[in-house]
């Protein structure tokens, strides 16, 4: 296989040899290291293939052996070039194609984002668009390490990023911080209290730094100080001598309630597919659509599904050329009404997705008290959900004047 490719590019000829001493001709050829292949006896003559370069060296051998050569066929790239030498536009087309391919390969035509679960692809893509680093950006304008850093800065939850460019495809791998409920401890040298960020009943409080102001089972309102960042230094008599300030640190679990409200209409539109399907094909280059003209959509009600395929060479060389298949599925709309058990089930599904979302935020659900109310038109679910969660947020500590030392100065003078 490899050998035949070389033979093709060097060019070779098939010739017919006849004359006085053909055997001597072959022996001279092998002595001079001239390769001959596909040698065949055909009547009185011999037919064989020989490379173009070797063919040009044959003249002295032919004279010596008194043989004659007739060229039967020519093969290979040099002959092919010669035959089509006048087709200037064809060669121009090849050059244009190579040029375009080279030009196209200088841009990003495909962006793959992996590892994101909270942040959607669209969010990241629109961020890239803002930075003018999206689809169609010249590759040399993208500084991978800078983009990695910028992504981490722009999205707080992203803790690790990697930007790779392979061919015309940009791959962004990222890692999200799963525990994003953790509050950040301020670190600016000032003192901070922990205050309640919602009404709650304290379930447990473990203070590491600061003065706890509430005990377990205490009911707090939003804004109440839970842990104070000010430490009182007491004298022997129990009076305040001085204050020390710190950034409070505590784990406080509170029992809170969330209101739950959900309602949906009892009637809905059911789609009965008629089974009629029409397909439309289209091509897209950048944003220019080239739909096939013979298409007519005469369905009144239909669902449209679009599948888009991007043309790529190998796995990483994407081109800005897309093929689209639009599928139209006809249906007949029908007004339907939920039955009571169906409505209850649906309300239950809504509720459990809501609870699941709470659980994802590290909130422990203690009790749910939801009533489902069904009337002619609507299904309503309402109630409260009691949960146990981490509460408290930071607020600056009020700095107080140190009280005047009492008249008795016996202790202070040392």
């Amino acid at each position: 296989m490899f050998l035949s490719i070389i033979k093709f590019f060097q060019g070779f000829v098939c010739v017919r040899l006849s004359g006085y001493a053909p055997e001597r001709f072959f022996n001279l050829c092998s002595n001079r290291n001239i390769l001959i292949w596909n040698l065949e006896r055909n009547g009185d003559a011999y037919e064989f293939c020989i490379s173009v370069r070797a063919f040009l060296e044959l003249r002295p051998i032919l004279r010596k052996t008194k043989t004659r050569l007739v060229i039967l066929r020519r093969f290979g790239f040099p002959f092919w070039m010669h035959r089509y030498r006048k087709r200037k536009i064809f060669f121009g087309g090849i050059l244009l194609f190579l040029g375009l391919l080279f030009l196209m390969s200088q841009f990003i035509w495909n962006i793959e984002i992996n590892g994101n679960s909270y942040i959607t692809d669209e969010t990241i893509l629109s961020y890239l668009e803002e930075r003018h680093l999206a689809f169609g950006t010249p590759k040399k304008e993208i500084d991978s390490s800078k983009l990695e850093e910028d992504l981490r800065i722009a999205f707080d939850d992203v803790i690790w990023t990697s930007v790779k460019i392979n061919g015309t495809k940009m791959t962004i791998d990222l890692q999200e911080n799963i525990k994003n409920s953790e509050r950040e401890r301020p670190n600016d040298g000032k003192a901070y209290d922990i205050v309640a960020d919602k009404d709650a009943v304290i379930d447990s409080i473990i203070t590491r730094q600061g003065t706890p102001k509430v005990a377990e089972k205490a009911t707090v309102k939003k804004g109440d100080i839970l842990v104070c960042g000010r430490l009182d230094i007491l004298g022997d008599g129990g009076e305040v001598m001085d204050y020390q300030y710190c950034v409070s640190d505590a784990d406080i679990m509170g029992i809170t309630t969330y209101p739950y409200e959900d309602s949906f209409s009892m009637t809905y539109e059911k789609k009965n597919p008629t089974g009629n399907i029409k397909k439309q094909y289209a091509a897209r280059l950048f944003q220019y659509y080239l739909p096939l003209p013979s298409f007519q959509n005469n369905y009144k009600y239909f669902d449209k599904y679009t599948s888009e395929y991007q043309i790529h060479i190998c796995s990483d060389f994407y081109l800005p050329l897309f093929f689209e298949v639009n599928r139209y599925e006809e249906y007949v709309p029908q007004q339907e009404k939920y039955k009571e058990n169906e409505a209850k089930e649906l309300a239950g599904i809504h509720l459990s997705t809501y609870l699941e979302k709470l659980r994802e935020k590290d909130i422990q659900i203690l009790e749910k008290n939801v009533m489902i109310d069904i009337d002619e038109k609507n299904c309503r679910a309402s109630g409260t959900i009691t949960v146990k969660e981490k509460i408290g947020s930071y607020a600056p500590t009020e700095v107080l004047e140190v009280p005047e030392p009492p008249a008795d100065e016996g202790i202070n003078t040392q």
């Binding site: 053909p22 055997e23 072959f26 022996n27 092998s30 002595n31 290291n33 390769l35 001959i36 292949w37 596909n38 040698l39 065949e40 006896r41 011999y46 064989f48």
Partner: protein, 93 residues
Amino acid sequence: MGKSSKRPLKKQFVETLELPRDLFFGSVIITVTGREEVIVENYKGILEYTRESIRLQTKNCKLFLSGKNLKIVYYTNDEMKITGFLEQITYEP
């Protein structure tokens, strides 16, 4: 005298040291695969070639191959490949 005693000595030498015979005696190597393919190494030249027979000169003897539709796929200075339907291989003095 010198010539007759020299030959067995070389033969003895090659046999004792188990040296490859094709290098020291220039013996022909024939690799036959089924009835369709023969590779001949260490030959000196082609004496005769038709569709039915090929006669080759080697260092020590002549080699005669006969068959049908014999074709030389390639041949270089030291190796040739013959395909076709092979009927016999004969050594001639």
